[in-house]
Amino acid sequence: MMPAAESTLSTLETTFNRLVDALLDALQPEEQLKLTLQGEQSQFVRFNGAKVRQAGTVEDAEVSFTLMWQQRNAYRSFPLTGVWETDWPLAQAALEDVRQELPQLPEDPYLVLPEGTATSREVHAGFLLPPEAVVGAVLGEVVGLDFTGFYAAGSLVRAYADSAGQRHWFATDSFSLDYSLFTAEGQAVKGTFAGNQWDEAAYGAKLADSKQQLQRLTQAPKAIPRGQYRTYLAPAAVDDLLNMFSWGGVSEAALQRGQSALGLLQRQEKQLSPAFSLTETFEAGLVPRFNEWGEIAPVKLPIIEAGKLVNTLISSRTAKEYGKIANGAAGSESLRSPQISPGSLTAAEILKALDTGLYVSNLHYLNWSDRPNGRITGMTRYACFWVEQGEIVAPIENLRFDESLYRCFGDCLLDLTNFLEFIPSVGTYNQRSLGGALVPGMLVDQFTYTL
């Protein structure tokens, strides 16, 4: 195994810095500029039936710059290949093009101009499997099982620079294996194994745990009639619910414009449970703290404390528009590194505390069914069980739920586990995601299932 980040991305860093210098040199009076870079060198292997469906590699990097002039702004994005003779003509043409455009645009009263001189450089080298060794390392452990999944690995970079003098560079090596083990009847266990060093023993232990869970799924699934049931939501399921807070939830702009499910909480028309606390924390260093204006987010920002909305995510743009104080949020005002505080429920007590009800490992395809009222619909998925008197009785046929967050994170929240699990972000739309969430499991009373 070899560290990847330093070796494969150093050329890109050199080219990015050269591009920044050249573009800044080319600026005219009254012009300001900011640039971002997102890049990756990735290996992707897709598995089905403990075989390989597709395998390949992708190298990609895209630079985006915003030119600001007389309260107007526009951006251009283009590939950054690391070959100056290719990249600089593209950048020059883009700069000329955007200069032609700016006088045609209306003024933007909430334009955020670059300021500050903060710099940072973080490089997290990892020890990843050699690409040709991946298939054998992954599949060697699952021979004879119906294993399906996706391995993604390699180097990722995020960078920022601007005409005020800020510069940030964040590069990391990482891998993730997101997998499912299926029974012949179609029941499944979900697992994720992620990090920046492949550990064969840890992978074996993770799979052993999944195989043990799979044994519980061999019984015929039980059909549960619609209704309200006491429910244990395992950390992966809680993470699915938490993701909804980033989609019309904790965003200050969404709250200001009537687009947030937390409006009722902010207006104190509804309460959440004193047991529920949500924090944005960058302590683990898995994602960059800088945003698309080069601003550094605080290491910790409490969002919900003991059920009260104490902070929203406020970007500099939103701050200008609504007279607020920005807190380092990204333009999307979504959670980048969230953590839900633990409760008191131990792992050993979960089934006993659940008593009779549903043990839900994962959720699927969540959406707002009534956003202003905080109502969410979605499905149970993977290893979910009917439990009676603290004993697992049988796996269940998947159920649809439709429930308000003001109930499941409010009056109906009985307890949270005293341990947290890291749920990695394994998404790969456009490019591989970074980071993840630290979440406990949740015991909820009267969770509403509708189909």
Binding site: R53, Y75, T86, V135, L139, S369, M379, R381, N398
Partner: protein, 479 residues
């Protein structure tokens, strides 16, 4: 670019059974205005090459954003090594038959080119739309977006393929949000970014644009005081802008052969459809006729060839309610032994082709809109999707709409807010009792169909008439 790719192909040094190069150059111009103020103005250039290499019955891929010959050679070698390493564990031995030789071109139809409007013209248009949307003080947000997209793709292969396709696309959206205290309602132009077509600016500059914007603003306000959609089982009438979502989620995805083969089980999910169902399964009522049709002029996902070079043609997936064929590439067809269509598509140069929808349409029936409503004693009519959720087998779904009207004694009566409905797929499609005629048929599209590992968001188009479903569970909102 085709000559550059052909030259690169000739100069490659690799001992593979087949090599294909697919170059993509995509220029996207995005402009958004909120409340009359600019939010986003810019252009993005995506370009790169996807290399596929067939070795020992396994295809490996290597994608690069560089057109430099050395980087292309490196991508080919990487693809070769990936294929070789995986071939021992291949899920199915493939041959060059899954990448047939093809030569041809495609061009999107258009009247007014995408260059016809300047950045200033577009901003003026969007600002004016915001003004028309804001029909009163209750409107707390107006939004207008226009995204133009010019995509060129080139495909060359070691067995002589040479394809050039040139797509011109326009995606537009405008919406109004109304608020009164804690009640918030949103209305948009047929749902989120639903106006997605191939063509030029003629698609947006329609005669009734301003009138439509005012109607949307007025309906957002109207919804603030509307009654909640009742909780009941009743006759449900769906407008084409909701049928789009209904077809997409409960017909398109379950018929994808890669889902049936299990490729998607770890991400998007499987399907309740089994391989033995093709040619036999009664999917819905006899009024249900669904076609896969990438040949419809101007529909969002039209093309002449898929991304593996297979020529596209119109096919019935469901005819008179009976399942006929699936959405599957030559690879999936070979693995499953079921007929498919030309649907191996990739979201861009940096993703491999997988089984996708393209244009999936419900064919029109015989009833006018007035006839459909006149025949209903009690029901609910819903327009424009706002919420969507379906299980991993594409069986249990729940969808919500922006706007609804009650139907009483053959008439559309009071407006209803927060309309939702839920059902299971077979039950729902068997409850289809009337299908509107061609005068009710409308087509829409979306660029956000998500699937695959690595994830891919792809463009799809859906056309449908207004449809009537019996005995469906409908309900409203509330905490």
């Amino acid at each position: 670019m085709i000559s550059a790719l052909s030259q690169a192909l000739e100069s490659l040094d690799i001992a593979a059974d087949w090599v294909g190069l697919r170059g993509v150059k995509e220029t996207v111009e995005h402009r958004t205005v909120r409340d009359g103020l600019p939010q986003r103005n810019g252009k993005t250039l995506h370009q790169g090459v996807m290399v596929e290499v067939l070795v020992n019955g396994q295809i490996g891929y290597g994608a690069t954003h560089s057109l430099d010959p050395k980087r292309l050679q490196a991508a080919v070698e990487s693809a070769y090594r990936q294929a070789l390493a995986a071939s021992e564990w291949a899920i199915h031995p493939l041959t060059v038959a899954v990448r047939p030789k093809v030569v041809g071109q495609y061009q999107s139809p258009f009247v007014k080119p995408l260059s016809a409007l300047s950045p200033q013209d577009i901003n003026d248009l969007l600002i004016r739309l915001c003004r028309h949307l804001k029909v009163g003080d209750a409107i707390v947000q107006t939004l207008a977006t226009a995204i133009s997209n010019e995509t060129e793709s080139w495909f060359v292969s070691s067995n002589g393929s040479e394809v050039y396709q040139h797509f011109l696309m326009l995606e537009t959206h405008f919406s109004a949000t109304a608020q009164e205290g804690g009640i918030v309602q949103q209305r948009s132009n047929n749902g989120p970014l639903a106006h997605c077509y191939q063509g030029g600016w003629e698609l947006f500059l329609e005669p009734h644009l301003w009138e439509r914007a005012e109607q949307i603003g007025a309906q957002a306000v109207e919804l603030l005081t509307a009654a909640e959609c009742p909780t009941t089982r009743t006759t449900l009438v769906l407008a084409p802008d909701q049928m789009m979502l209904q077809i997409h989620e409960s017909v398109g995805h379950p018929l994808e052969l890669d889902r049936i083969l299990g490729d998607e089980r770890n991400y998007a999910g499987g399907s309740f459809v089994k391989p033995e169902d093709f040619g036999r399964l009664s999917y819905g009522s006899a009024l249900m006729n669904i076609t896969f049709d990438p040949t419809v002029p101007g529909e969002f996902a039209s093309y002449r060839f898929d991304d593996t070079g297979v020529p596209a043609q119109r096919e019935y997936l469901i005819q008179a309610g009976v399942l006929q064929r699936g959405l599957g590439s030559l690879e999936s067809q070979a693995r499953l032994g079921v007929a498919g269509v030309a649907c191996a598509r990739a979201s861009s140069w940096n993703r491999p082709p997988i089984d996708r929808m393209a244009n999936l349409n419900l064919e029109p029936g015989t009833d006018s809109f007035e006839d459909l409503i006149r025949a209903i004693e009690h029901g609910v009519y819903m327009e424009a999707n706002r919420s969507w959720s379906i299980d991993d087998q594409r069986y249990k779904f729940q969808f919500g709409c922006e706007y609804a009207r009650l139907i009483e004694n053959g008439q559309l009566t009071q407006t209803l807010r927060n309309p939702n409905y839920r059902a299971t797929t077979p039950e729902f499609w068997h409850s289809l009792v009337r299908v509107g005629d061609a005068s009710t048929w409308e087509m829409y599209g979306t660029p956000y169909c998500g699937k695959g590992e690595p994830n891919q968001a792809i463009r799809v188009g859906h056309g449908s008439p207004t449809c009537v479903f019996e005995n469906v569970e409908v309900f409203g909102g509330g905490a």
